[in-house]
């Protein structure tokens, strides 16, 4: 136990130091993890032991990652982008693989060359997306082209994983699909195929029909850890099922993810698995870093150099050709080719996987891995250099696309009585908000009414993150629980300072508390309807509709105007003064509205009552502005 705790401690502390440093110098968290591994590994401080088994254990993070990738895949989006994904992405992977195979068969056996080609054809999604976001090109047309390439990479990992064991020389592929579990390898081919199909169907059916009532029952208990347990059970279960039938575990979880992509529990699932995945994968990368053998690498430094040059040049050239082939605008081709011209995070996943299944010898894997690390390290530098020296002339033309009001991202937290109407209004206007609510029954009911609502506790940072708070421009809070609302506001202000916050609260004390927090858009939820009801009353008492409306409008404006002053008084002068100012304010309102009535129509209605004008001015009626009388 103590030893275990100590190891965990070392891993976490190493990550906690290395990753922020890596981020600071602009090289992504993955390289930070690797560096941490190198430092605490045998060639550094030698703080950890048994790296192999740690790596083996944390590999499960990869399975979780694929589940999350699956969750992100919305079939509709994929279908809409099918041309660019298959064309640009598929073309790139195919051609790159072939070219690398063609070159490397000179040095390696054919199968190994193919494995290498497949692995190196993938780029780093994380780095690419981050580069695009940092440089404001995420929403540009180049951005979208590049995005479809890396999206294809995400998808391609799944079949590549399935292929790897098959590419291992016969006899060595033991470690991946062994089992303390049921072993079906002795069954006949037909039965095995049948079982495999059955397993895949089972995952599909589970995701479609069983998870929903199950998640609902669990959500009803309101226990967060139970939901976490259910999410884990889902991932673990589907991967075990795949292992039994001899398919790679990530395939099962990916499938489960895709099936659940449209579910209302999507964001909640995402936020529950994400930390486990993050931690496991982080430790996985650290252990990769720790397992690098520097003596060997030092001896073969020139191979590494060649590999680095090869990866970058091949990818750049091929992407450029594909850009020409698919008629991307000439000004975009270069940028399109330079951004994904590096090895990817997936290489770190696939290389150990390939070594385990015997598809690649460890030495080759290590050399390639080092080369990939170096290309990733250089990626941001290359893009910066490209923008600086090559692209200068086209820069002014492109510019970041201005966000149209309708294209912006809005998160609605809480979809109760008020939230529903507000959401309907926004949807009607053409804004698609991400809607989160914590009541499983309500979520289901609202889904029946056609709203895309997600279940989840918004006061958790992970869920906000999963809902896209980082990219959103506005957060609308309509949670009725004031404490929770405050917690959410503080959380959002701290972590997403650019996020604008709008909030509906249920009484004026909460309004003031929100003002204390600096929320600028606060609305008391029943105020407007109450005043509307007041207007109805005036009409029922016989007042003319338009006059009732004008009185209401005047009351609203004056009341709003006074609210800031009243707040100041509340804060500075205390309750007694506040109460007397409030009473004064009410008296003022009454004076104003009653004056407006006796003068018949606000202050300005004076001119409309012609007889009075004549009396007052003694002038002829044609001096007055109205002609109708």
């Amino acid at each position: 136990m103590e030893h275990f705790l100590l190891q965990i401690f070392v891993f976490f502390v190493a990550a906690a130091i290395a990753v922020p440093v890596a981020k600071k110098i602009g090289i992504g968290s993955v390289l930070g993890y690797l560096a941490a591994g190198v430092i605490i590994g045998p060639f550094g401080l030698s703080l950890i032991d048994n790296v192999e088994s740690v790596m083996h254990f944390t590999e499960f993070g990869v399975v979780m990652m694929l589940f999350l990738i699956g969750l992100e895949m919305k079939p509709a989006v994929l279908w809409q982008m099918r041309n660019s994904i298959l064309g640009l992405g598929g073309g790139q992977v195919l051609v790159t693989t072939l070219l690398i195979v063609f070159v490397s068969v000179w040095f390696l056996p054919g199968r190994q060359a193919l494995v290498l080609g497949l692995i190196l054809s993938l780029s780093s999604t994380a780095i690419v997306l981050q580069l695009l976001k940092e440089r404001g090109r995420y929403d540009s047309s180049v951005g979208r082209s590049i995005f479809s390439v890396v999206l294809f990479h995400d998808l391609a990992v799944v079949p590549i994983m399935a292929l790897l064991p098959l590419l291992a020389p016969v006899g060595t592929h033991a470690s991946v699909q062994h089992g303390g579990l049921v072993d079906i390898s002795h069954l006949s081919g037909g039965v095995r195929f049948f079982l495999t199909m059955l397993a895949i169907t089972a995952v599909f059916l589970m995701g479609r029909f069983v998870t929903r009532p199950l998640f609902r029952a669990i959500a009803m208990t309101g226990m967060r850890e139970l939901f976490a347990a259910a999410s884990l059970a889902l991932v673990v279960g589907s991967s075990l099922l795949m292992m039994v039938v001899g398919l790679p575990a990530p395939l099962g979880t990916f499938l489960a993810g895709v099936v659940l992509a449209e579910s209302e529990y999507r964001h909640e699932l995402e936020s529950n698995i994400e930390p486990f995945k993050g931690l496991l994968l982080g430790i996985f990368f650290i252990s990769i870093g720790a397992s690098l053998n520097f003596e060997l690498l030092w001896e073969q430094w020139w191979v590494v150099c060649l590999l680095v040059a090869g990866i970058v040049v091949f990818k750049f050239v091929i992407l450029y050709l594909i850009a020409v082939l698919f008629r991307l605008p000439a000004s975009e081709r270069g940028y399109f080719s330079i951004v994904p011209a590096q090895g990817g995070t997936f290489a770190f996943v696939l290389l150990p996987f390939a070594v385990q299944s015997g598809a690649l010898p460890p030495l080759v894997a290590e050399l390639v891995l080092t080369a990939v690390v170096i290309t990733m390290f250089f990626a941001p530098l290359m893009v910066t250099a490209w923008e600086k020296f090559v692209e200068r002339r086209v820069e002014s033309k492109e510019g970041a696309d201005a966000l149209s009001p309708r294209g912006q991202r809005v998160i609605i937290a809480g979809f109760g009585r008020l939230g529903t109407d507000l959401g309907r209004l926004l949807i009607s206007v053409g804004i698609k908000p991400v809607i989160l609510d914590h009541d499983p029954v309500g979520v289901e009911a609202l889904r029946n009414f056609g709203f895309e609502v997600f279940y989840g506790d918004v006061t958790r940072l992970d869920l906000l993150e999963a809902a896209g708070a980082a990219e959103a421009s506005m957060l609308i809070v309509t949670i009725s629980n004031a404490e929770k609302a405050k917690e959410l506001v503080e959380l959002a202000q701290k972590h997403y300072p650019n996020l604008e916050i709008a909030i509906a609260v249920d009484d004026w004390r909460v309004v003031y508390e929100m003002k204390d927090l600096g929320v600028s858009l606060i609305r008391r939820e029943t105020r407007d309807s109450a005043l509307d009801l007041g207007m109805d009353c005036l009409k029922l008492l016989g007042m003319h509709s338009y006059e009732a409306f004008r009185l209401l409008r005047m009351f609203k404006h004056q009341d709003l105007k006074a609210s800031d002053e009243l707040y100041e008084i509340w804060r500075e002068k205390g309750e007694e003064t506040f109460i007397s100012s409030f009473r004064d304010h009410n008296d003022n309102l009454a004076a104003l509205l009653q004056c407006a009535q006796t003068n018949n129509r606000e202050e300005a209605g004076k001119g409309w009552a012609s007889d009075k004008i004549i009396r007052a001015t003694g002038s002829r009626p044609d001096d007055s502005p109205e002609t109708g009388g």
């Binding site: 202050e603 300005a604 001119g607 007052a616 001015t617 002038s619 001096d623 502005p625």
Partner: protein
Amino acid sequence: MNKILLLLAHPAFGRSVANTALYSAVEGMEGVTCRDLYDLSPDFFIDVKKEQELLLAHDIIIQQYPLYWYSTPSLLKEWTDLVFEHGWAYGHDGHALRGKYFMQAITTGSEAESYTLGGQSSMPLVSYLAPQRATARLCGMHWLPPFVDAGVHYESRAVLAREGQRYRRLLEALQQCSQLLQLAEKYQIADGPVPEANALDRDLLKGELNG
């Protein structure tokens, strides 16, 4: 220097090209207060006191709007109804606006030619501005002939930009002009012919009275 209050009334200003061209050409000029009425009073609630204070603080009042159904957008009418109060703007004690100058800046969709006798709209454009002219007179203001950008449906961006510059120059000239009174007298309603659109523009910028 004469202080100008520019009141813009356009219910779909975000999608207007012509009025945007004009408005953005003068927005931020020193000594010109620009107010987008539809933005300030989307629900037609008008803070009468504030509007009156602003009027008092300026010498020249310009109403800029697209001509629609030969009249002003409805908010501008509401504004006039409420702000030009009896006893303030007109009537026995209503002298607040006396001596100020009043001008309209108007865009029209159809071309200038249609606003002629026998044209599509059958009357000169300025005839359609008679209600505002009379209003100005009743309040004791000096009416100035309108700035008109006609035919904006058919104008390219370049032309619109040029019109914007013309508008800006006119406003600058108005600011600088020390003999506005004489100029205004020239356009008095009394018995002379209806002045042409853009007459002021011509008179001022040609330097007839300027300086």
